[in-house]
Symmetry: C2
Subunit: 520 residues, 2 copies
């Protein structure tokens, strides 16, 4: 059994704190050269590479980060998770999203059921369902009804592959998403659809998500008003114990269970049904393949060979030693426009915690604020603060050698794709090295660290690898901080108070006054 101790109980953490720069910042102008760029790289799954040359670490830092990984037994804890140990200590649940992509540990049994087989069976079922829908050709559009993890991850993946699918003849159906309880969301999306040709995927693990059920009834009312039978237009993705399961109100139902957390569910039926319908089951299988390969690479003990582990530890160094409170995700790929929003949930909902896995208060910073937009757009927006603001924000760049659509134009001797990449390379160096200037308003302090994940082109395998990389990074950070990355008690109080407002019995005068302002 590995031992669970808080980060500040680890000897390696004390050594790490002793490496704090103490006013003397890492000297990128001196350190960041071609040799370092070539050396500070780790191959990733899906044909990607993790480059950390522009991170403020040297061999001494990396040595202590390795010691920390070893002392906190991060790989051992990952192995326990893979083997079906109860790692979600708050809710007393196993954590099995890796098993969706293939088996890396012992068979995981629960109440006599082999869960690996269960997940594989559902994958097979919804793959066949998608093929049937494609053969019958009565639907041309699929709409996901879901919120949080049932929306952000699947939506980010869908947007990421649209261009690739169109270019490579993989497009089977269009897709849309309804998530917000704001009625304008569902009303607007539905107003643009031919309901007769639209299939809806209702996604709620519990089957009682307020927003999703309201939107389900919204959709059903519209279907009926159009003279259509909702039971022929809806499929459910839920758990077998939910009211939505085994229910003739749906054309079919596909199952997950309590061991697949919402924000980790993109590679389950939650993402799989809509992605298989939109781009074919082979495309979804390729995403799983990339994710599985990434999961495998995360087993490596040597941090220099394990990109997720290394990324996690450098993040810790930046958060707990250098004291940076936020981090930006900057994909130089329009296809990844909503990938930062997914990572925002993944990271902030997993590690935005103030107690350890036993519920005891922590006395160090945990998960950072995560935000981001695609480049080059962000350059013309918030990069001003990133370059010249008073705080330092660590950056995660993502880029590809080739575009997805291969439809480009040459202007002033370079294609748009080349301009995109030139901007990316330039930003990394500009942030790290800065520029002196007599005019302090034109001076760039530099010292702003970044990493780069790059590959040839954004194909399904690469996307799966990218997704799993960040899942595993967040998992390792949670282990290192000794917290439970897999529950989300912080969402409960709002739910309780909302119900009280709706029932008119909150018993809180301020809450009633706010309800009055909003004319509830």
């Amino acid at each position: 059994m590995p031992k669970y101790q808080n980060l500040d109980a680890a000897g390696a953490y004390k050594k790490l704190l002793a490496l704090a720069p103490q006013g003397k910042a890492f000297d990128f102008k001196k350190e960041l050269n071609a040799d370092r760029v070539k050396a500070y790289r780790v191959p990733m799954a899906g044909g990607l590479t993790y480059s950390y040359a522009a991170k403020a670490v040297n061999e001494a830092t990396l040595q202590v980060l390795q010691e920390l990984a070893d002392e906190q037994e991060l790989i051992e804890k990952y192995k326990l998770l893979l083997n079906g140990e109860v790692m979600n200590t708050g809710e007393k649940r196993k954590v099995l999203h890796h098993l969706l992509r293939g088996q890396l540990g012992a068979p995981v049994l629960h109440e006599g059921k082999d869960l690996g087989q269960f997940y594989a069976g559902e994958l097979k079922r919804f793959s066949e369902f998608a093929r049937k829908i494609h053969r019958e050709a009565s639907f041309d559009t699929v709409v996901q009804i879901g919120i949080g993890g049932s929306d952000l991850g699947p939506r980010a993946l869908y947007l990421a592959l649209e261009n690739w699918a169109d270019r490579n003849g993989k497009r089977k159906m269009k897709a849309a998403f309804i998530s917000n309880v704001d009625p304008d969301d569902a009303s607007q999306v539905l107003s643009q659809l031919n309901l007769k040709r639209t299939l809806f995927v209702l996604v709620s693990k519990s089957g009682i998500t307020q927003e999703t059920l309201a939107n389900e009834l919204f959709v059903k009312a519209k279907l009926r008003a159009a003279g259509l039978d909702p039971a022929k237009h809806l499929v459910a993705v839920t758990s077998e114990t939910s009211p939505l399961a085994h229910n003739s109100d749906y054309l079919d139902s596909f199952y997950i269970d309590d061991f697949i957390g919402g924000r980790y569910s993109s590679t389950s039926a939650v993402g799989g049904v809509i992605l298989s319908l939109a781009f074919g089951p082979e495309t979804f299988a390729a995403i799983l393949e990339g994710a599985h390969e990434a999961d495998k690479s995360a087993l490596e003990k040597d941090i220099k060979k394990n990109p997720a582990l290394l990324d996690a530890l450098i993040g810790l160094w930046e958060r707990n030693v250098l004291g940076y409170p936020s981090t930006a995700i900057l994909p130089y790929s329009q296809a990844l426009s909503r990938f930062p929003a997914h990572l925002q949930q993944l990271d902030m909902e997993s590690n935005g915690k103030r107690v350890n896995r036993n519920g005891e208060p922590l006395h160090y910073a945990t998960g950072p604020v995560v935000f981001g937009e695609p480049g080059t757009n962000g350059q013309h927006s918030f990069y001003q603060l990133l370059h010249q603001g008073t705080d330092i924000v660590p950056l995660q760049f993502i880029g590809f050698q080739e575009s997805q659509r291969q439809d480009d134009v040459e202007v002033d001797g370079s294609t748009s794709q080349t301009k995109l990449k030139a901007n990316l390379a330039a930003q990394i160096v500009a942030f790290a090295k800065g520029k002196d200037d007599q005019n302090k308003n034109k001076e760039f302090p530099g010292g702003r660290p970044s990493s780069l994940i790059y590959g040839k082109t954004l194909i399904p395998q690469a996307l799966g690898a990218l997704l799993a990389h960040f899942e595993n990074k967040v998992m390792f950070q949670g282990f290192a901080w000794n917290l439970n990355s897999f529950d989300q008690e912080g969402v409960q109080l709002g739910k309780v108070l909302t119900k009280q407002v709706l029932a008119g019995n909150s018993g809180d005068s301020a809450l009633e006054a706010y309800a009055e302002l909003l004319s509830i």
Copy 2:
């Protein structure tokens, strides 16, 4: 002449620091009641109200914030700006976006030209142009080609009013946006259009924005390939000194000048041409009306009667005294889905600065990181960290009593709009008051401050008021910090290095190595 002094030279700032809570946080459980909710409100333009009951301020704080506003002469500086003083000290330019909405100061003359008349003239010209296009009815879609301020603000406003326009018979044309230099952006957008029926608005003040020019040539190549004449499908929005001006390559051209900064340009031709085409000139005029009303309300010296000023000062209190490094924008309105992205640019590009207006280094924190997503979606994403993370993030809620489309469904005794509002009210109180629990994992510390901007429904006047409120808030903060909110030198270094990469002469071995990784 008002005096310009750094924040830390102000006597009121020292008094403010002395009010720091020193471990004893503001006690919302005790303080936040119905009386406070009713009292701590300021009417805003456009029928909106600014509620700050859930901010960690009391009468003593407000008193010193008033002193600070007076000592830093924030209103006087605003008046100077309105009168055409050179307030963009870095670029030695006037700052005149308020004048786009109407005149509040003396006539502003530049080289003998009355700029108020110039802006009004352009407004009239593009309003007439829009009417002509609507009459001729040869186009049904308008596409904006622009990046940064030529994209984020106009796009946020367009999305904010789509539902309102559809519901109220104001929809004239569909709109789309091309911004990123990533060729997949333009290629995908164009693949979904009927080019014959599409009018493009090319927006670049300088006429030399790399991304926008690349996308212009992309679009022109596609038009020619479709047998169409680009000169009959493009209009330009630019400055009169740019290469795009007075150019027969465009159907028409509309002008702004150097005194309208990109992120402040939504109420100029930059936002006006596309919004007038999409929703009619009357709709754009209503946005201007709301903005002008907000600009007027920002002249009030009493912070309790000036919502933008009060918002700015409370933000300062949170940033410089309470030490919170980021802030979240949380609109409970799907229509405002991209409004946080606009505010992210507005705030971070304006006040993400480390030198004062004279170029001297500052020794206090300036602009925070700004991020956000619509509620209730965010509740199922990053709110976990906001409620239970180790850092406190101040929150800006926005909500409306009624939906835009008035198309709703009742489930479990309440409409979706009522559920949306109940969630909003519940979150404010949950963040402020928290909840004790024996199980520390289920405990909510509270003490997380928020403000609320609310109104009846999101109509053009309210949207204009909202836009101007935040512009004025950011302006007042910039004055208080004694920095120049109106330049963006932090974007220059990346541009220079990008050109060097494209020319193959960066002279930096690391930069060349990164270019090689990306196969440039």
